[in-house]
């Protein structure tokens, strides 16, 4: 009997997962398939770019700086043992561009902006603001979901690039200013080793994929929230956990495809 119950529960969970995925897909499709309304949609998008992107700028910049500095310090200690400390520049740059930039930005974005998006939409639902939009014949998917989705997709790749650039500068501070590596060799080796397609374009592709997934999860969790305090709390937690796991899993997949 217990085995039957477990199999039933497993089947139930599988159906729930698939139907949830379907609902999320329909929500996203309905939100982005609408013809953009430039006159009314642009101010909404600009506002969300500010909330989602600009307000995440400080945490991304500071994190990027410190991660670049730590990377350079650890890298210098190892590379100097082999007498190749001049390779610090490309080591820091490639680590940031290929992995840490897109991944850490996505994780920070999920914690900073993703949870805020879920809580905001969840509260809009619990205070009947989404229903009142419906009643005013305004599609909440177009008015609320679409601008937030595009704001996430536009701002996260830019934030990831800023993260990597600031991180490289952090590496320069530690490597060149502190440890005394020659500035010319730091930058010239970095420049010769970093490739446009292999490193920068792939970094951008990764962060666009992460942006879509993180923003999608955050918006879906907010839109499907059970409209009470416990429901909103659970939804924000789910956003951070699911978005972080999705980013890490997708990172492995993308890395295997790009560099494997």
């Amino acid at each position: 009997m217990r085995i039957v119950e477990r199999i039933t529960a497993l089947g139930h969970n599988a159906i729930e997962f698939i139907s949830g995925f379907g609902r999320a897909g329909i929500m996203l499709w309905n939100a982005i398939v609408n013809v953009p309304r430039f006159r009314k949609g642009t101010p909404l998008l600009i506002k969300q770019l500010y909330v989602v992107g600009v307000q995440s700028f400080v945490i991304i910049t500071i994190s990027g700086l410190f991660i670049g500095m730590v990377l350079a310090l650890q890298g210098y200690n190892i590379l100097s043992d082999f007498g190749t400390s001049e390779s610090l520049g490309p080591m820091v740059a490639l680590s940031l561009l290929r992995e840490l930039g897109p991944v850490v930005t996505a994780l920070l974005f999920a914690g900073r902006a993703g949870s805020a998006l879920t809580a905001e939409i969840g509260l809009m639902k619990s205070t009947e603001q989404l229903s009142s939009l419906e009643m005013m014949a305004v599609d909440p998917l177009r008015q609320v979901i679409a601008p937030r989705f595009w704001a996430g997709v536009i701002s996260m790749p830019l934030l990831a690039m800023i993260f990597s650039a600031v991180g490289i500068y952090g590496g320069h501070i530690v490597g060149v200013e502190w440890k005394g590596i020659d500035a010319g060799s730091f930058w010239s080796i970095l420049q010769s080793q970093v490739e446009w397609h292999q490193d920068i374009l792939n970094s951008l592709i990764k962060s666009v994929v992460f942006a879509v997934v993180v923003t999608w999860i955050a918006l879906y969790r907010g839109y499907q929230v059970i409209p009470n305090p416990e429901g909103i709390s659970r939804a924000t937690t789910k956003t951070v956990v699911q978005a972080s796991l999705a980013v890490l899993a997708l990172d492995f997949l993308l890395t295997a495809l790009m560099f494997g």
Partner: protein
């Protein structure tokens, strides 16, 4: 019901379930044009759900809801949105948008659905706010208003597009006597001056009966009584009298169904 008045809304044999729990079973009611129709009933019988079914936010399991002859659950989403421009709803919480001020809340639907110049929109907003006594509060944010004022601001927003049908979801719940009196007066006056069709969902018996032209009492998944306020007051339906008189026990029991009390105290049911 007055057969001379054409009906704006007709609910025909509508059934609705939440999971395995039936909320309505073969419910029938009509909302005549230009009248104030009240839907009353105890808490938790699905009065708000009924408004959401009438406005197409929820879909019934069977039956029809006709708005001016259109089956609200059969029309396309575009047609539904066109019909919704002819109706509006005053939510229990007010549901004002918290990130814009009161005037922008009232102007919201006008900016979405009309190409009127901003100067005319501002004039209409001032007129709507004046009607609810909040012209001086246009620049305030919703969280700076009291609960009663938020509901009045939401009422101004609900009538901004001059709809044919306004649905009021528990408009008097949680209001002090002054705010309640103001809302009763506003609903009555606005319905008459704008020739609105109004549906008031509430369990505040005295206030509702003072403004309603016709009343439906819903309980046990169906309409248990209907008529003019005068007819309801004279009814000998025990369930209705318990509700109208606010009796704690009667056909609607005080106790939630439970096993025998004595046996439980003696530990026989454990």
């Amino acid at each position: 019901m007055d057969n001379q008045t054409p009906n704006l809304v007709e609910v025909r044999n509508m059934s609705f379930n939440r999971g395995s729990r039936a909320i309505f079973k073969d419910l029938n009611l009509t909302i005549p044009k230009g009248k104030v129709t009240a839907i009353m009933g105890p808490s938790g019988i699905g009065k708000t759900t009924l408004l959401k079914l009438i406005s197409g936010q929820l879909t019934p399991d069977s039956g029809q809801v006709l708005f001016d002859g259109h089956d609200i659950h059969k029309v396309s989403r575009k047609e539904l949105f066109n019909l919704r421009q002819r109706m509006s709803m005053l939510f229990q919480s007010g549901a004002l948008f918290t990130d814009i001020n009161v005037a922008d809340n009232v102007a919201f639907a006008l900016r979405e659905h009309s190409n009127l110049p901003e100067s005319i929109i501002n004039t209409i907003v001032a007129m709507k706010l004046e009607a609810v006594g909040l012209r001086g509060a246009g620049k305030l944010m919703p969280n700076e208003l009291s609960g009663g004022m938020q509901r009045r601001a939401a009422l101004a927003r609900a009538i901004a597009l001059e709809p044919e049908l306004v649905m009021y979801d528990e408009p008097f719940a949680g209001q002090d006597p002054i705010a309640m009196g103001v809302l009763v007066k506003l609903i009555k006056e606005l319905s008459e001056s704008l020739n609105l069709t109004s549906v008031v969902v509430s369990h505040d018996v005295v206030e509702v009966l003072s403004i309603a032209d016709y009343v439906y009492v819903v309980a046990d998944k169906k309409v248990i009584a209907e008529g003019t306020p005068q007819q309801l007051k004279q009814s000998d339906n025990l369930q209705l009298q318990q509700f109208m008189g606010g009796e704690p026990d009667g056909p609607v029991p005080f106790h939630f169904p439970a096993p025998d009390y004595k046996k439980e105290l003696m530990g026989e049911n454990r």
